[in-house]
Symmetry: C2
Amino acid sequence: MTTELRAAALEVGVRLGDVDGNLERLRSALERGAASGAHLLVLPELATSGYVFDDAAEAAQAAVTRDDPRFDALRAALPEGVVAVFGYLERDGDRLYNSAVVITRDATIGQYRKAHLWDREREIFDVGDTAGAVFDTAVGRLGVAICYDNEFPEVPRALALAGADVLALPVNWPLVPRPDGEHAPEIIQAMGSARSSRLPTVIADRAGSERGVRWTGGTVVIDGDGWIAAVPDDGIAVADLRLSPGDKSLNPRNDLFGDRRPDLY
Amino acid sequence: MTTELRAAALEVGVRLGDVDGNLERLRSALERGAASGAHLLVLPELATSGYVFDDAAEAAQAAVTRDDPRFDALRAALPEGVVAVFGYLERDGDRLYNSAVVITRDATIGQYRKAHLWDREREIFDVGDTAGAVFDTAVGRLGVAICYDNEFPEVPRALALAGADVLALPVNWPLVPRPDGEHAPEIIQAMGSARSSRLPTVIADRAGSERGVRWTGGTVVIDGDGWIAAVPDDGIAVADLRLSPGDKSLNPRNDLFGDRRPDLY
């Protein structure tokens, strides 16, 4: 059975270290996303804190716990039936994590801690103990991964094999060179992984720059055929995605999952 | 240590069922590839036979054994130090395979039988028992897969993890719709898999059409960063690829393989 899901990926004007201001900007973005009619809203990685910290001590100043009461205002911004995913800088005792949370108006559905850390993140964060995660939500089985996680082809594949109908991917992509006319390389990788597993992928990136790091501005919604279904218009990318839970057939003789040879790899 | 490899992917005007004519066209293409100075030459899938057979009986008429003496003339067309890969329709007793062979002037280096069969291939061919293969050659550790194999992200990843420095990919890609301005979807998948594993990928596709099937004309050389290094100019795509055997480092803190979390997937 095919269902349709309107999904939105949102840019947010995150400011480094300004947690209260960022939470307000996230709340505003969630309201805007909900007003688009989307039932899945995805916001960037580390959206509560910003990214380019000098060291762990500075990052710790912008950390929050997963039960921070200020998250209540974000949940309250969501209409019934809407699911939102955003990245935040999590403190758990003495440890910091690059985390994402899945929320609805009524509940916190799930938590995920990034498993593949990029560059200086290694000096700040501990790693999570799952490579992405899948949660049952009102919009279907929702895969969650963060940024560099998705550049490991094992991750989107494993999430799809675990039943994810759609992938929410908060990212902070530093801009890297690319040939004229090409998409950002991380987008190409996500287009490929989406197509390989019929896994629509909703990516919220940063735009602008932070402490001299320019962001890619790669916010995009990718459909289950691997094509770009939406790019931002005034900060929000909205697309109606077809979800076909469990259906990976390509033609009467081929199936993206059924044709796998797991005995050989 | 980084080495440079000039690689060429060649279009061949394959005609359905015309084995002797196709062998002559392959020989001519190999000569042309060698004249470009390339040390790795890749030709299309099923290049001895064509693709769009009505049934197994018709395909069997165009099958050859792996030790067919007519292959000698192909080897003889190669200068010393040049490695070539082409697809052929293999007969082994009563069975047919969609195979690829790796040859040099002096020897047959290796054989591979396609492990993931597309559509009506299932009515004609038996499947191979490895998902791609890796061979030690004069141009480095050479991965070989065929067409649909590479759309399973497990395949290029496993070949790279097995030490492949470069991937030879003979294909016959039927043309499918794509949005304006986008690469063929199979090329996007190959760009992503090349980048994920720093696995330069040399793809030889068909052009034109056969029995009403239009081909993608997707012949392309993709470098280890996942970018298109060459497309065909008058039937031949030539690029100088950087090979860095075993080196998957991205920066002092990140490594495409070292950052994997194999305990988690």
